[in-house]
Subunit: 144 residues, 2 copies
């Protein structure tokens, strides 16, 4: 059972931005820190910006920074937004091939309910809790 | 967030076998019912047999059948066995590239705990609960 790479990169991006907040970080710096391509991180930052988590500043002294306090960023809510199709099996995802037993299958309900438990647990956690110890994170990321 | 196709096929195989238990079903019949290749289903039945969920009978009148009562097959336990590497992000899976912030990252713990909630919910469900209405399942699968 895996989250998408996009969600994984988004979580790491927010941890990186949170570790140096309120300072800015460039996509190049995040790319160097995590070893994730600039190409992927640009997409991630664009999406996080569209969702209101990140603010981007253009120009020579530009970069990205958190658009809200880390205490207000719930991890479950973030995952729900990044993976609207959080179906753990094909029949829970739109557009996938239908399963012949779908009209009589209880598994969909059981799996959807288990996914809800997963997200509820993540909703108990905010980005702020993931930013300690802050100095150590900054050092590991070679930021600030 | 997705379970592997192997787990998906395993769940469908057990529902198929359970729907006609204690009768046998051939891999060819399951393949025709679900539209999943014989090649994949052979692997699935072999693994389910190794795990003690399925019994296979060789020969002309052969086939596969449930090796234990559906009431004794817990879905969470099954998923744990089929996906021992149930890491939702790379750093929770062995052999994957390490993440630079791993020594200071709380996300691993939070995600592992959310995955545990997911499995606990699945442990509340047994295969027996997924086999009703049995006649409808048999009809949809064109079995029995």
């Amino acid at each position: 059972m895996q989250l998408t790479a996009f969600t994984d990169y988004s979580l790491r991006t927010l941890i990186g931005l949170g570790a140096v907040a309120p300072e800015k970080v460039t996509v190049g710096e995040l790319s160097a820190a995590y070893g994730i391509s600039v190409h992927h991180l640009l997409k991630v930052v664009t999406e996080l910006s569209a969702l209101g988590y990140v603010e981007t500043i253009r120009g020579k002294a530009g970069g990205a920074r958190l658009a809200k306090p880390p205490e207000e960023i719930r991890i479950g809510e973030l995952v729900r937004k990044l993976e609207p199709e959080l179906g753990v099996v094909p029949c829970l995802r739109t557009g996938d091939a239908p399963c012949v037993i779908a009209p009589a299958c209880h598994l969909k309900r059981v799996l959807a309910s288990a996914t809800e438990r997963f997200l509820e647990e993540l909703d108990r956690c905010t980005l702020a809790e993931l930013l300690e110890p802050r100095r150590k994170l900054q050092k590991l990321l070679k930021l600030a």
